[in-house]
């Protein structure tokens, strides 16, 4: 057991030594690296510029989307954005080494709008625009949701959004309503026609009964004054020529 403890102590000492050495070396390295670092930031600044190669402009409309619940755009939000872009690039292409620090943001305005560009440290140049475009398009939904925005309020200029497929139900709604109306009308027509036929049958039955009764009555009243009544039934009437012989209304003197 004591051997273990001593081994642990030794490990700690080695570890501590390493840190001290590293610190000493890092100080030196820092001094040596300072010009290199400033060079890198200058290069980064050149990489991320409005209109630079492989750079894209992003525009957010937070108040339009969220109204009172709009959050303020600060560095933490920028951090999230960088993370989403890095995630998109990682999943789209096989660039496993992309880190959040590889996504550069610049020219942040009050609008809120900014430019971003993605660098690839292994190749020491920017990720081509086509790849960035493809990556963003693939994950656009998730990026939107991370910021509680949509395609119109989180705009990537020059990256068109993929519109959702048209949601068509299997039977269009108008066909359903049409079938309902059509069936009702057909039922109505059939009912009316059937009731009309029934009414006509009832009437013809009643009229045959009536004619039976009338026949009996008619035989009684048909003849009057020796003249059958139906001959007197004509509409225009008959002029009795005997009385209409002359036009004179007055008898001649």
């Amino acid at each position: 057991m004591s051997s273990l403890r001593t081994k642990g102590k030794e490990m700690r000492d080695i570890y501590l030594n390493e840190i001290i050495l590293k610190g000493f070396y890092s100080d030196r390295m820092l001094v040596a690296l300072l010009p290199a670092l400033s060079l890198v930031t200058v290069i980064h600044a050149q990489l991320c510029q409005p209109g630079a190669k492989d750079a894209f402009k992003v525009r957010l409309s937070l108040k339009t989307a969220l109204g009172d619940k709009a959050y303020t755009w600060n560095e933490n939000e920028e951090y999230l954005f960088k993370a989403m872009v890095a995630f998109s690039i990682r999943t789209f292409s096989s660039r496993e080494k992309i880190e959040i620090s590889n996504v550069l943001l610049c020219n942040v305005t009050k609008r809120v709008s900014f430019w971003f560009v993605v660098t690839d440290p292994s190749e020491n140049q920017t990720v081509p625009a086509g790849e960035v475009q493809g990556a963003i398009r693939m994950n656009r939904n998730r990026i939107n949701n991370a910021f509680i925005l949509n395609d119109q309020t989180l705009e990537f200029l020059e990256i068109p959004a993929t519109l959702g497929p048209p949601t068509e139900p299997s039977t269009p709604i108008w066909v359903i309503i049409f079938s309902v109306v059509f069936c009702l009308v057909i039922v109505g027509i059939v009912l009316l026609i059937v009731s009309g036929i029934r009414q006509r049958r009832r009437k013809s039955k009643a009229s045959t009964e009536m004619t039976d009764v009338e026949d009996k009555c008619e035989t009684m009243v048909t003849i009057e004054n020796g003249i059958p009544c139906d001959t007197l039934d004509s509409k225009e009437g008959r002029t009795n020529r005997a009385f209409a012989a002359g036009d004179e209304k007055l008898t001649p003197l």
Binding site: R59, L60, S61, L62, K63, T64, T109, K110, R111, V112, S113, P160, A161, T162, L163, G164, P165, P166, I173, W174, I177, F178, V181, F182, V185, I186, G188, I189, L192, I193, G196, I197, R200, K235, E236
Partner: protein, 618 residues
């Protein structure tokens, strides 16, 4: 003489129990009101009001109503009620030489039924599509690779695309007929079946249906009025509509349009009103009915225009706000101002300031100037109002599917009641002519008529159908109706005789027509009709007829391309205008030849309907 007047019918009248009757007076009034009040009250009158100086238009409108509309209407109702037959029976009774007027009216009613029900077919299509949220005309469908909307929709707008592409699937030229649209055919068949079920037994069934179809539009109009008045921008629309511009009265076109509007609005000279009043009891106050129905029709037009214009004012305000918002967004994006930092009220000041400080950047933006007046000026009438402008307004209203269902349901009811009148104008004369034996049931006759109409109307379901409908609308009805109305007045007042007609009216209503009626019947109305007819002819023949086609390939798309009608189409237009009128001289000639030939025959053997009417004398 007195013994005849004591009876309810005059000798020589057809048997009382055979002719169908209205169940009650209200049914009759509703039917006439429903026939008169149609789609034109909704989409033609407000447009005319707006174009011709708002409130000032009401002056020629009411003058035309008093001197032309009401007198002619009274004649139709009185003569139908007195002679108790449809239009063909009436005219052949007045004079056999005038039988052609009746046949021509039948023809015109048939042609109008064809294209009127086609409009109802479109209304039904929109009605069926209103039962979904979001409405199908509220957004553009995406294109094939789903990067944006379809180009045709992008360059015009969503409602135009839905109307011209999804509904009509219109071709760019009337020569290209295209294919039959099966969706429209289904709607057409459904519409004709609905018409059939309502007119299947004549007024027995229409009388029941009219209670709903005539009153429902008023209910919906009231709902729209209340909703419209509470929308933002409604007052601007109403002020714009009714602000009178008296100087417009100097333009003769205004008077012509007012007179034609009254004439077509009351649906005169179709034979429908004659048919309706022929089912009345003989002693009915037709004078009061005529004045009541005509005034109700005009009041409905006014009521509808208030409702329509409050909604249009809302739409114009919305468009104006959209225009402002687009400009504000461009400015904000260009100068990177914070989101929503410029409100609509501050726009003008901001715009002026930026224009003075940074003119080149502002010029580069190419901002469109936004004026509310421009949007209010965008007027539309006819199908454009219903299917494009109003549908767009409905999209912006909260709860749009419900409003769309109500609106298109109202349009359908309005059109249906007018269809009843048109169908009665076709049905009653055919039944009165007794071409078919008595044993053929009425249901069969109406079925055959509806089937013939449905098959004939299939031509409007072609892709070029809407161009053909415009032709029918412009040429089939207008001139012919003016001719028939003229012959109506002349026939009743001069051939039948003013004195005899006044006696009949006195017998029916208990009052002799006063000086106003006699003056308008004898002189003013025929003169007005003649003037309108001549002006119409002058206007139509002044320039070659053109039509506006929807052509996505046109340079100025979405502005419609104006094209001339090809020769064969112009021939059809002439035929449509002349065919109904030809019956008048045609039948007169036929009767003349008949008389010459039949002079030797026994006068008693002629059937009743061909004899000129003679009152029984002591």
């Amino acid at each position: 003489m007195s013994s005849i007047l004591a009876a309810d019918t005059l000798p020589g009248d057809p048997k009382e129990d055979e002719r169908p009757k209205w169940d009650n007076k209200f049914q009759y009034i509703l039917s006439c009101v429903g026939f008169a009040v149609g789609l034109g009250n909704i989409w033609r009158f407000p447009y005319l009001c707006q174009t011709y100086g708002g409130g000032a238009f009401l002056i020629p409108y009411f003058i035309a109503l008093i001197f032309e509309g009401i007198p002619l209407f009274h004649i139709e109702l009185a003569i139908g009620q007195r002679l108790r037959t449809g239009s063909i029976g009436v005219w052949s009774t007045i004079s056999p030489y005038l039988k052609g007027v009746g046949i021509g009216c039948l023809f015109v009613s048939f042609l109008v039924s064809l294209y009127y029900n086609t409009i109802l077919m479109w209304v039904m299509w929109y009605f069926l599509n209103s039962f979904q949220s979001p409405l199908p005309w509220s957004s553009c469908p995406p294109n094939e690779n789903r990067t944006g909307s379809i180009e045709e929709c992008q360059s015009s707008n969503t409602v135009n695309y839905f109307w011209y592409r999804k509904t009509l699937n219109i071709t760019a030229d009337i020569n290209e007929s295209g294919t039959l649209q099966w969706r429209l055919i289904m709607c057409l068949v459904a519409c004709w079946m609905i018409v059939y079920i309502c007119v299947i037994r004549g007024i027995e069934t229409t009388g029941k249906a009219i209670y709903f179809t005539a009153l429902f539009p008023y209910l919906v109009l009231t709902i729209f009025l209340i909703r419209g008045l509470t929308l933002p921008g409604a007052t601007e629309g109403l002020i714009y509509l009714f602000t009178p511009n008296m100087s417009i009265l100097q333009n003769p076109q205004v008077w012509l349009d007012a007179a034609t509007q009254i004439f077509f609005s009351l649906s005169l000279a179709f034979g429908g009103h004659i048919a309706f009043s022929s089912y009345n009891p003989p002693k009915n106050d037709c004078e009061k009915d005529a004045v009541t129905i005509a005034v109700v029709n005009s009041m409905t037009s006014l009521y509808a225009s208030v409702a329509v214009f409050s909604v249009l004012g809302f739409k114009a305000t919305n468009d104006y706000w959209d225009c402002l918002d687009r400009n504000i967004l461009s400015i904000i994006n260009e100068f990177d101002f914070p989101d929503q930092s410029i409100q609509r009220d501050d726009y003008a000041a901001c715009f002026a300031h930026l224009n003075s400080t940074q003119p080149d950047r502002m010029a580069h933006l190419q901002l469109r100037s936004c004026h509310l007046q421009d949007f209010l000026d965008k007027s539309a009438s006819g199908t454009g109002l219903a299917f494009i402008v109003f549908t767009e307004a409905i999209v912006h209203m909260p709860g749009s599917p419900g409003w769309a269902v109500l609106f298109f349901g109202m349009l359908f009811s309005l059109g249906l009641t007018s269809m009843f009148g048109n169908m009665e104008g076709v049905l009653t004369p055919i039944l009165d002519l007794h071409i078919l034996p008595r044993s053929v049931p009425k249901e069969f006759i109406t079925g055959v008529i509806c089937l013939v109409c449905c098959l004939s109307a299939l031509c409007f379901t072609l892709q070029s159908g809407s161009y053909w409908l415009e032709i029918f609308d412009k040429y089939a009805a207008s001139l012919n109706l003016l001719v028939f109305a003229f012959f109506e007045v002349i026939g009743v007042i001069y051939v039948y005789g003013l004195k005899r007609f006044c006696d009949d009216v006195e017998w029916m209503t208990g009052r002799r027509p006063n000086l106003y009626w006699q003056m308008t019947w004898k002189i003013i109305s025929p003169l007005l009709l003649l003037i309108i007819f001549v002006s119409y002819i002058i206007l139509i023949t002044q320039k070659q007829p053109t039509y506006e086609s929807w052509n996505p390939q046109y340079d100025d798309f979405p502005v419609k391309q104006e094209k001339f009608y090809p020769g064969w189409v112009q021939g059809i237009c002439v035929m449509l205008s002349l065919l109904p009128c030809i019956w008048i001289p045609g039948m007169a000639l036929f009767q003349l030849i008949n008389r010459r030939q039949g002079k030797g025959k026994n006068p008693w053997s002629e059937p009743y309907s061909d004899k000129p009417y003679e009152p029984v004398q002591d």
